[in-house]
């Protein structure tokens, strides 16, 4: 025997980590005379497929049987397996089968009179410990997301105390073999790395020679830096600086009489900044200018995208007819240009318009179309947002269970596609679902998660909404002092351009202050 055990320390740490885990599982499964329960946490479906395939290769002495419990509302795992597994497995005399159980986590909650309630499945697992571990004539492998196993640990301590075979896989490059389409845009966020980049750009700008003999070149360098700074400030949610640099860049471009794509891109990006910060008239003017330029220059490839953006401006202005008209034009142009990969985004927004109009069926129909196109054109990174909005539709309809499930799907997709910066909003909405049900603790727990993700991903400007909801929960609980703290936090995080939100928060502050003074 060698006396060494070395932890992987190289840059391929996670790959090595996962390979080690496979070795460990192999050892765990091999040569079993008695049944056992193995738990495997995998972050993504693709990784699950990979790991399972490798596992089957590594322990050929077993027959594997896969069962997905997603369609069933499981209360008793033992009973469900007894009912669903073939007789040959149930009555097997020796341990010859590994039964892979998928989708059990979907039975955690159930709906009772329209309310989401704990289904009791985890508590049942706790009671069934003896049966699940010792009684079957097969090895049970429970696959699930990490959160499910954490819940098991919290809520089924007796069961957990028997668990030694728990394996947590991490995403690694094996997973990357199934390529998700690259994300088209860099994630906007107030990240330190962006601050550093901005600083370096500004340093360069300061060091640009003022009286360079080649004025044109200096201007172009300046233009380049202005454009970069504008983009970076936009992604940093700094409207004023972004605006300043876009205008400077556009000014230089016009001065240098540069036309075509680079000019239109600046106008387009400035339009998008204006849209994001609710300067709708400016956004519309800019997009229309780009549209006109593109038509004049016969650059038809971008027309669909521009109509889409114009549709978004109208959508934000709540001018539904105009929004739908422009989205339809966008679809037509995209179809004409063979840009199916862009259908999903537009159908998603058509869905949003119908959602705003409370036309739930139309909204869902378009969200489904969006999902279809996003899936077949490899735009998985956008699926999270659509599932999130399907969640909102169901939330509005007070169909809590469906809302919850879609928010969960949204979270899963956002995690899988690296859109962590969007996670906060889904947790925020799950918080709202619980708040609606007056399940204050769960609501607060999810709002805290929302804050965690928003902070972690530099989405501070979105914190105001969540702190406001936390304040509302405390207010509902008659804890005005904590409510006030959170409303004040909400106000401090809400950008000044969000006038409606600011007004709502200020009203909330006034209301709880009145309540406090009445109490005193």
């Amino acid at each position: 025997m060698k006396n060494t055990y070395e932890m992987p320390t190289n840059f391929e740490l996670e790959k090595a980590y996962n390979e080690n885990l496979l070795d460990e599982i192999q050892f765990t499964l091999q040569d079993r005379k008695e049944p056992t329960l193995v738990m495997i946490s995998v972050p993504t479906y693709d990784l699950q497929v990979k790991v399972l395939a490798k596992l089957k290769e590594r322990v050929p002495q077993y027959q594997f049987y896969d069962i997905d419990l997603t369609p069933f509302q499981v209360i008793s795992l033992h009973q469900t397996l007894q009912e669903k597994l073939p007789k040959s497995i149930i009555e097997s005399e020796r341990i010859t089968y590994c039964v892979n159980v998928f989708g059990l986590e979907n039975s955690r909650l159930s709906s009772e009179d329209g309310q989401i309630v704990d289904s009791g499945m985890i508590a049942q697992l706790n009671f069934e410990r003896e049966i699940i571990f010792r009684k079957p004539n097969y090895i049970t492998i429970l696959w699930g997301d990490h959160d499910f196993f954490i819940q098991l640990q919290r809520k089924a301590p007796d069961l957990w105390s028997w668990v030694t075979n728990f394996f947590v896989f991490k995403e690694d490059e094996i997973h990357q073999e199934k390529e998700l389409s690259p994300q088209p845009h860099e994630v906007p966020a107030k990240l330190p790395v962006r601050e550093e980049y901005i600083k370096s750009l500004k340093d360069k700008l300061e060091h640009l020679p003022l009286n360079d003999t080649d004025k044109g070149r200096a201007m172009r360098e300046r233009l380049n830096l202005y454009s970069l700074l504008a983009d970076e400030y936009a992604k940093y949610f700094d409207y004023e600086n972004a605006k300043k640099y876009y205008e400077n860049a556009i000014g230089i471009t016009e001065k240098l009489n540069i036309r075509g794509n680079s000019y239109n891109k600046l106008l387009f990006d400035y339009g998008t900044l204006s849209l994001d910060f609710r300067k709708f008239d400016n956004a519309l003017t800019l997009y229309k200018k780009v549209l006109k330029n593109d038509i004049q220059e016969n650059t038809m490839i971008n027309i669909g995208g521009i109509y889409h953006q114009i549709g978004m401006v109208y959508e934000n202005q709540r001018n539904w007819d105009k929004a739908l008209e422009n989205y339809q034009k966008a679809i037509n142009w995209k179809e004409r240009n063979g840009q199916e990969e862009r259908f999903g985004a537009t159908y998603h927004h058509i869905g949003r318009v119908y959602e705003e109009q409370r036309n739930w069926d139309k909204a869902l129909e378009n969200y489904q179309k969006a999902i279809y196109w996003k899936e077949i054109t490899g735009q998985e990174y956008e699926l999270g947002a659509t599932y999130h909005h399907i969640g909102i539709v169901y939330e509005e309809q007070k169909n809590w269970i469906k809302a919850f499930k879609n928010y969960q799907k949204a979270i899963n997709w956002k995690k899988q596609t690296g859109r962590e910066y969007q996670l906060g909003s889904s947790y925020h909405h799950i918080g709202r679902v619980y708040e609606e049900q007056k399940n204050w603790n769960k609501a607060l727990e999810n709002y805290e998660m929302a804050i965690h993700w928003k902070e972690k991903t530099g989405q501070e400007y979105r914190l105001g909404g969540t702190y406001h909801q936390i304040g509302r929960v405390y207010e509902e609980q008659n804890n005005e002092s904590l409510a006030l703290d959170n409303f004040e936090k909400a106000l401090s995080f809400t950008p000044k351009y969000f006038k409606e939100e600011k007004e709502m928060i200020e009203n909330s502050i006034e209301r709880v202050k009145n309540k406090l003074s009445e109490k005193s």
Partner: protein
């Protein structure tokens, strides 16, 4: 007959014998390590004293029927200690002891408080029958009438026990036979059977009357037991009741505790560590309450005893690089035997017989477990852990005791953080 030749030196066997689900008669296979010295055996002496057994082993019938509450962490060794008590006390000069493992006898998820009383009766009758006592007393007949008069119930039970009885069910079976349900009780009470419904309804409505009948039966049968030289008194040792659902458990041990106390037999019952503190606050007093403490790992003799638990099962030289490594496992176990097995089991899995377990392996195992422990709690728990003021009646502290995040040792102010969690939190600068 032991399952293996201990200590084992094959990695697959080592894996098996360190799993929490491993079943073995640890007394017959010489795996049992007496922890009285390290854990303190006062509580065992006290239990025996409460049960009327003197230091010299002499027996005195207790003046009252004693009800002892026996608690301890998940994995602290309660079952082993209760089994040992059963083994020590189930003697003709002491007790006719009936050991009941609720987890094995009933389907816990469907447990109702009423089932407990039926279980006591059926287990007692079954065990007595094994010893040749099958007296059908008047009180038992009354009890049978209460439970089994319904024709559908009769049919269900007859069907379920016909093989065991090997009698002609068509010809009918006697009332007494119904109490021989034994192993079938689990199925009957777990399903949506008429038997389950009737037994529970009847018990709920006639709980006090039922206790009176049971007491009368106990009184009759006690005389038989003494006459047959099977024991001087009756003792029930109930294990696994801590696993039943909290509200059912609360009904049994807190709300209806007076009924339990009113049963004329001595009993030792295991309870959840979190509920233990609730019972302590209850106005209804059980005779005594005991907690199996975690073993302090800072004393050499304690550490040696814990080492012995492992080295009796797996071969030290085959699996461990040195003594220091095993001691590290013990340190991180916090004196919780199941946690110790878990550390060693995962370490075996990581080395797989290809290398010996060394400190780096143990640290890797502990980090892995620590991460999972940390993930199970939020910042409000961390706050309590940071403050270090562990008031056992406080809800979150109770929860953490139940979840093994906090460990209870002997003495006052003796609740401490699980060392694995503590290490993890310190490394993450959360403490």
């Amino acid at each position: 007959m032991s399952k293996f030749n201990y200590p084992v030196n094959d990695p697959f066997t080592a894996r098996a014998v360190t799993e929490p689900t491993f079943e073995e008669d640890i007394f017959a296979s010489n795996l049992y390590v007496n922890l009285d010295k390290v854990r303190g055996n006062e509580y065992l002496s006290d239990i025996k004293f409460d049960l009327g057994i003197g230091d010299d082993g002499s027996f005195h019938l207790t003046e009252e029927y004693v009800k002892l509450i026996f608690s301890g962490h998940i994995g602290s060794g309660k079952t082993v200690e209760l089994k040992r008590l059963h083994r020590d006390l189930n003697k003709q000069n002491l007790y006719f002891s009936v050991f009941i493992s609720i987890e094995e006898e009933l389907e816990i998820s469907r447990f109702e408080p009423e089932d407990f009383y039926v279980l006591l009766i059926t287990k007692l009758i079954t065990q007595l029958q094994e010893k040749g006592i099958s007296r059908n007393t008047e009180s038992l007949k009354e009890l049978a009438k209460m439970f089994f008069s319904d024709s559908e119930v009769k049919k269900e039970i007859s069907e379920s026990i016909k093989d065991e009885l090997a009698v002609n069910v068509e010809a009918g079976i006697g009332f007494f036979d119904f109490f021989k349900i034994g192993g079938s009780l689990k199925n009957l009470l777990a399903g949506e059977t008429k038997t389950a419904k009737v037994i529970r309804e009847v018990t709920r409505k006639n709980l006090l009357h039922l206790t009176q009948l049971l007491n009368d039966y106990l009184s009759d049968i006690r005389a038989d037991i003494q006459a047959e030289n099977l024991g001087q008194d009756i003792l029930f040792i109930v294990d696994g009741s801590e696993k039943i659902m909290f509200e059912k458990y609360e009904t049994l041990f807190v709300r209806d505790a007076n009924v339990l106390i009113g049963i004329n037999a001595n009993m030792i019952m295991s309870v959840r560590i979190d509920a233990f503190y609730q019972i302590e606050k209850s106005p209804i007093r059980f005779t005594s309450r005991y907690v199996v403490p975690m073993i302090r790992t800072d004393k050499v003799e304690n550490c040696d005893a814990l080492c012995e638990i492992i080295t009796k099962r797996i071969d030290f030289d085959t699996f461990f690089e040195n003594k220091e490594t095993l001691e590290k496992c013990i340190f991180y176990s916090g004196g919780c035997i199941r946690q110790l097995f878990r550390i060693v089991n995962v370490a075996i899995r990581k080395t797989r017989g290809k290398s010996k377990i060394n400190i780096a392996v143990v640290e890797a195992v502990v980090d892995e477990i620590g991460n999972t422990l940390r993930e199970s709690i939020d910042k409000s728990y961390i706050k309590i852990l940071k403050e270090g003021d562990f008031e056992p009646a406080e809800a979150k502290v109770k929860e953490m005791l139940y979840g093994l995040l906090l460990l209870k040792y002997n003495g006052k102010s003796s609740i401490k953080m699980n060392p694995i969690l503590e290490k993890y939190l310190r490394n993450a600068n959360e403490l």
